[in-house]
Amino acid sequence: MNPLLAGVALAIIAGAVVAVSARLARMVVLGVALVLVAAPLAADPLTTPLALAARFIGAILAAYLLGMAIRERPEAGLLAVPTEGSRIGWPTEVLVAAAAALVGFAAHGLGAPAAGPMLASAAGFAVAAVSLIPILTGRDVFRVGVGLLLLLASGTLVRAGLDGTPGELEQLLTSALIVVVAGAVASLALSARLDGPGGFAFAAEARSRTRRPSDARPLDPR
């Protein structure tokens, strides 16, 4: 086993656990950044420097966009807002990640020889497992968005584990997808945060069917 690759996989899993467990939004962004930066390194052989640069830039840009959504701006009335955090606690998240990593390690290839490293599959399964908790149970726009970014990262990790190192164009498209999803999450989170007290929490009325009034909506674009 490649010790460097093991270190990368551990860093990815640790980043994912921090991202889903922390209540401090800055810590969450750091955790996501760690996962996104380390994910392209979980490949054997490593991708080309150009592709690696594209992924790094994408990861940094994604983290920057998330950072914009959580930034404290007292002059604009935007104070630090905590995220929902883990409901089951970080030790449980660690155990979930460890169990999923073992499954990913043992099931590497899913029935056929894989072209990528086992540790990428293990990290991918672990990140997927911890990301599902906020995605399915989150009631916080930012937390669900972070879960979605982690899920996406887990998909790329499993893909690298099964199918080997992606090509340059694929890395570029992956990077673009991560940036767009992060931008969408940041826009949505900021939009929720700017709408009065409540931080990133879901709107109660949007969870159920609402009836429109019978008058036309304002015609000007909003």
């Binding site: 056929a112 499993v158 099964l162 090509g167 694929e170 767009v180 879901f202 429109r212 019978s214």
Partner: protein, 506 residues
């Protein structure tokens, strides 16, 4: 490379429109201009051009050209309707971004790359839920849309990676192929908001204007579905593995979407939900095509995807124009709409023709062929009838339109053009007044234009059927994706039957 101008126009246009979103009119005008240029650029795309990028590449096809041309025309038409009847400030940017990502998704031969591009397009759609006031509600709906998009994308990434590698030493039961197939088919169902995955689509319908709805629930998932179809036809269908159990699941979801969306559209009391569920119902036919696992479904499925998204875009445009004319989308409040707005009545008839069709028309035959290839026996007849049953909610809307108008209801906006007195001292004010007085008329005219395009597509115009029958993009290199209908090398497993050569390759 003739695709490059299209990619540049749509990408730069979307970026500028998003960067300038604070200046609503400037961003909107820029977006409209870019959409108009995109129509020209799409028309100039030449099929069968190949550009290698590293080990991958970009390939143009006739289908790509038709998809982008119609997508640009519809995007432009919906933007006009939105400008007149109410829209989101990011609508043109989202249209352009979806066109750019669809172009990539349909031009890259490798499904692993195509999935990434098609998922990116879906992620742009959430911007339509953003509003300056009531942002929390929009954000909540937006994150539900993003959740569906990302989960579907991740399922597709995993499925394509699983099948994309060398499986000559497959140790597991080949039925595992069924899981990959099911994952991608469910991903398509999720993207279209098919029943039972329609929760996010229903909330989205509450939150975005009618003119913007087809972008998120129609066009963006359509590119994803085309990618899925190519992947299934190349990687799953030729294997001849017994996939009856997973096919049954996909067929069940397809039929549930067709039938229950019909019921849902019938019982809705507002136009936007009728439009939303009509899209879900037609998407059910796309899911049926994914369950066919036969080369015979290739051309009809690709034809139907284009026919239905164009037709439903026209329906959405009609709904938006109706709301702008009558200041309401509530069906009960629209009594006499057809009598009081003949332009909308004509548009509505065209929308019916465009979405239901007539025997002999390309779209009608494509839908019938999909049902015929996928289903057998009485179920085939029942589902075929169900696909025509949207006539029921169209008839309901038409009956409401022909009813005696409510005397206490607010009068509609004029359906004819109005010329306000020219004020030479302030041309700008005069222009503003004239535009305000003609908003309903402008929306109706744009909706009529879209309905005409949709009816033409249903009839087979734009060469849709011929383009749909063509091969998917493929690079001329070793290990290129298998063409639909051409069998893959048999798997060295006892449980996998050797494929039979198909004589009906498209």
């Amino acid at each position: 490379m003739s695709l490059l101008p299209f990619l540049l126009i749509t990408t730069i246009g979307a970026t500028l429109a998003l960067l300038l979103r604070r200046h609503v009119r400037l961003a909107g005008g820029l977006g409209l201009t870019a959409l108009a240029l995109a129509i020209v650029a799409a028309a100039a795309i030449r099929p069968d051009e190949v550009v290698a990028v590293g080990g991958d590449g970009v390939v143009t096809t006739a289908y790509l050209r038709v998809f982008l041309l119609l997508g640009s025309i519809v995007g432009f038409g919906l933007a006009l309707v939105g400008a007149a009847a109410g829209s989101r400030r990011d609508a043109t940017a989202v249209s352009l971004a979806i066109l750019a990502t669809s172009a990539m998704a349909l031009a890259v031969p490798d499904p692993r790359l195509a999935v990434l591009a098609a998922t990116t397009g879906g992620a742009f759609g959430v911007l339509l839920t953003l509003v300056p006031s009531g942002g929390r509600t929009g954000a909540t709906v937006g994150i539900l849309v993003l959740r569906a998009t990302v989960i579907a994308g991740t399922m597709a990434i995993a499925a394509t990676a699983w099948i994309g590698r060398d499986l000559s030493e497959l140790a597991a039961q080949p039925v595992v192929f069924g899981l990959a197939y099911l994952a991608f088919a469910l991903a398509v169902a999720l993207r279209f908001g098919a029943i039972p995955f329609h929760g996010w689509a229903a909330r989205l319908t509450d939150a975005v204007p009618e003119a913007d709805l087809p972008l998120v629930t129609g066009w963006a998932p359509a590119a994803f579905a085309v990618v899925a179809l190519a992947w299934i036809d190349a990687s799953i269908a030729p294997l001849l593995v017994d996939l009856d159990a997973v096919r049954a699941i996909v067929i069940a979801i397809a039929i549930a979407s067709i039938v229950l969306a019909l019921v849902a559209a019938w019982i809705q009391d507002d136009l936007e939900h009728i439009v939303g569920y009509s899209i879900v119902g037609d998407a059910g036919v796309v899911l049926l095509a994914l369950a066919a696992l036969s080369p015979e479904a290739w051309a009809p499925a690709r034809t139907w995807i284009i026919v239905f998204v164009v037709a439903r875009s026209a329906f959405a445009a009609w709904a938006a124009a109706t709301r702008a004319t009558f200041y309401t989308g509530r069906v009960g409040d629209l009594r006499g709409w057809a009598v009081r707005a003949p332009l909308l009545a004509g548009t509505f008839v065209l929308v019916i023709v465009a979405s239901i069709g007539l025997p002999g028309l390309a779209g009608f035959e494509a839908r019938a062929q999909i049902v015929d290839v996928t289903l057998d026996g009485p179920l085939q007849v029942l589902v075929l009838i169900a696909t025509l049953a949207p006539l029921a909610y169209y008839a309901r809307l038409l009956l409401v339109g022909l009813a005696r108008p409510d005397p206490e209801a607010q009068g509609p906006a004029p359906w004819r053009p109005i010329l306000t007195p020219l004020d030479v001292t302030s041309i700008r004010d005069w222009g503003g007044r004239t535009w305000a007085a003609n908003r309903a008329f402008a929306a109706s005219i744009a909706a009529l234009g879209l309905a005409l395009v949709a009816a033409a597509v249903m009839a087979g115009a734009f060469g849709t059927s011929e383009a749909a029958a063509g091969l998917p993009p493929a690079l001329e290199r070793a290990g290129e994706p298998i063409q639909p209908g051409q069998p893959e090398e048999p798997l060295p497993s006892d449980d996998v039957l050797p494929p039979e050569p198909s004589s009906e390759a498209p």
